[in-house]
């Protein structure tokens, strides 16, 4: 991947900046430019999420594609942010500690790298609160 592609993702990936539709007060993360219920009536603004939420479901990944094999086993979860939207993320914890309903908060972590000499990319993971 090219460097601009990583740069473009910095606001969302590093700072958990998503969007909010001011017409219907719905929050979006990952960000959406079109609010599905309002479509062209929607008024979309940037919104920085607080980074707190709870685990809705989870798994421990034992078998992963090349770019993640060094991290296995790792915990993957769907987290519901307190503002409402859900996202898929890694939970930085021991697999035995995770459970449905657990409170989590966002942390800044390395996500992966583009091969041995490629760009290292960072983003948001979560830890148990």
């Amino acid at each position: 991947m090219t460097v601009p592609r990583f740069w473009r993702k910095i606001p969302n990936r590093y700072n958990l900046i998503g969007t909010k539709c001011e017409n219907c007060n719905t929050y979006y993360f990952p960000p959406r430019i079109v609010c599905p219920p309002c479509r062209r009536k929607g008024v979309i603004r940037e919104y920085a999420f607080e980074g707190s939420g709870k685990i809705v479901t989870y798994t421990t990944i034992y078998s992963a594609p090349e770019s993640f094999t060094k991290m296995t086993p790792y915990v993957l979860a769907i987290v519901q942010l307190d503002e409402g939207p859900r996202l898929t993320t890694q939970i930085v914890c021991d697999p035995s500690e995770v459970k449905i309903g657990a409170r989590v908060k966002s942390v800044f972590r390395k996500l992966g790298e583009d091969g041995p000499d490629g760009v290292i990319y960072y983003g948001t993971k979560f830890t148990l609160a």
């Binding site: 990952p30 798994t59 990944i61 034992y62 790792y74 993957l76 890694q90």
Partner: protein, 387 residues
């Protein structure tokens, strides 16, 4: 709209076909379908090819032209179109062909599906499959396909009480069915212990909860129903071809224990066919993982929500049970060449309705259903076929 009939079917053996190329596979399936329908190449008016990811598996795009070319059909310069909806690419190719015939645009159409997955290693194949999810917000943070279905399995177990043994029984039953299918990748019978002692892939899913990496191709010949008898004595009629979409990401769905697009596509299909759930004699559903079959038989409306596991363990979905599911062995045992699966499902149902399914024949089967899912439920295609 005109009624459409399937008058020819073809399907290769599914498996790790190291001695066969992408081209070898679709030509084999296509020629089988043509000779089954006694159609000549000159009669074919259009071709739809379902393929998920030749780009990532083979670094080959422009599949429409390639399959027309090597099938010898460029001499007539017929329109040839690749369609893609991840693991539902085959189902979508079938629906596209049906629409082309139903609309009156074409009379004799081939719908095919093809995937050659073993030309890359397992890790590369996994990455290609992960492209059926949202690359930016699922795959790039570490989600794998088994991982996404594992999160659905976890939620289903937590909310509805589905058990580890019930999940395992889906694989046991499908291997039993596959043992009777000469095309199946796996023809060995397994036990619940085989599944629950296999290595963890994405907890709670283990290796034997997952469909394999497979090479294979399948094809069907479609014509208007009024011309069907020109080609065969046993036409199978298309009663419904329905499709629904939903969010690409699992985290954006209304539910983690249902695939809503399945329910919506099924409602549309049953309305179109003017049939009830109870009239389905046999069904091929999308069991890419064991949990997927349990959700499918619930979401299609064959069983109540939460009953999918218990009825599977009770044998209701095996041949001889209330509604035999995945008589081919399903994706689990017959194999899952992603772009070919939706067409293979139709081939299996046509064989069942013709009474040609051999040892795995469902007695007196008159109406059958196919259910093909793309990704974790972003696309679902449901067909109802009848004698």
């Amino acid at each position: 709209m005109r009624e459409v009939a399937i008058v020819g079917i073809g399907c290769t053996k599914f498996g790790e076909m190291w001695d066969k190329s992408f081209r070898d596979l679709f030509i084999e399936a296509g020629l089988m379908a043509l000779s089954d329908a006694e159609v000549s190449g000159a009669q074919i008016e259009a071709l739809y090819g379902g393929n998920m990811s030749a780009g990532m598996f083979l670094e080959q795009e422009h599949i429409g032209a390639l399959i027309a070319d090597y099938s010898g059909l460029t001499t007539n310069n017929i329109p040839s179109t690749r369609v893609e909806a991840a693991c539902a690419s085959g189902g979508l190719a079938l629906r596209s062909g049906i629409i082309a015939v139903a609309s009156g645009y074409h009379d004799v159409v081939i719908s095919a599906g093809i995937e050659k997955m073993t030309d890359v290693g397992a890790e590369k194949a996994m990455d290609a499959l992960a492209s059926a999810a949202d690359r930016e917000w699922e795959a790039e943070v570490g989600a794998t396909f088994p991982g996404l279905y594992a999160m659905m399995a976890r939620a289903h177990m937590h909310e509805l009480g589905t058990t580890r043994e019930q999940l395992a029984q889906v694989a046991v039953k499908n291997h039993y069915h596959g043992s009777m299918n000469p095309r199946a990748q796996f023809r060995n019978k397994i036990t619940i212990d085989t599944v629950i002692n296999s290595p963890l892939v994405a907890d709670p899913l283990r290796l034997f909860d997952c469909s394999p990496i497979t090479d294979g191709a399948a094809a069907v010949v479609l014509v208007p129903a009024e011309r069907a008898k020109e080609f065969t004595d046993t036409p199978i009629y298309v009663k419904a071809a329905a499709q629904a979409s939903d969010t690409i990401s699992l985290h954006d769905r209304r539910s983690l224990t249902s695939i809503d697009a399945t329910t919506i596509a099924a409602d549309r299909a049953f309305k179109m066919a003017r049939l009830q759930r109870s009239q389905i004699d046999v069904a091929e559903v999308h069991d890419c993982f064991t949990i997927a079959e349990i959700m499918a038989i619930e979401d299609l409306g064959f069983f109540e929500k939460g009953a999918g596991g218990p009825v599977t363990l009770a044998g209701d979905t095996a041949i001889g049970g209330k509604i035999p599911i995945n008589t081919s062995g399903g994706l689990k045992a017959c194999g899952h060449p992603v772009g070919a699966t939706g067409i293979k499902q139709a081939v299996e149902i046509v064989e069942q309705l013709r009474g040609d399914a051999g040892k795995r024949q469902v007695d007196g089967a008159e109406v059958g259903l196919t259910h093909n899912v793309g990704g974790t439920g972003g696309t679902v295609v449901v067909h109802i076929l009848a004698r």
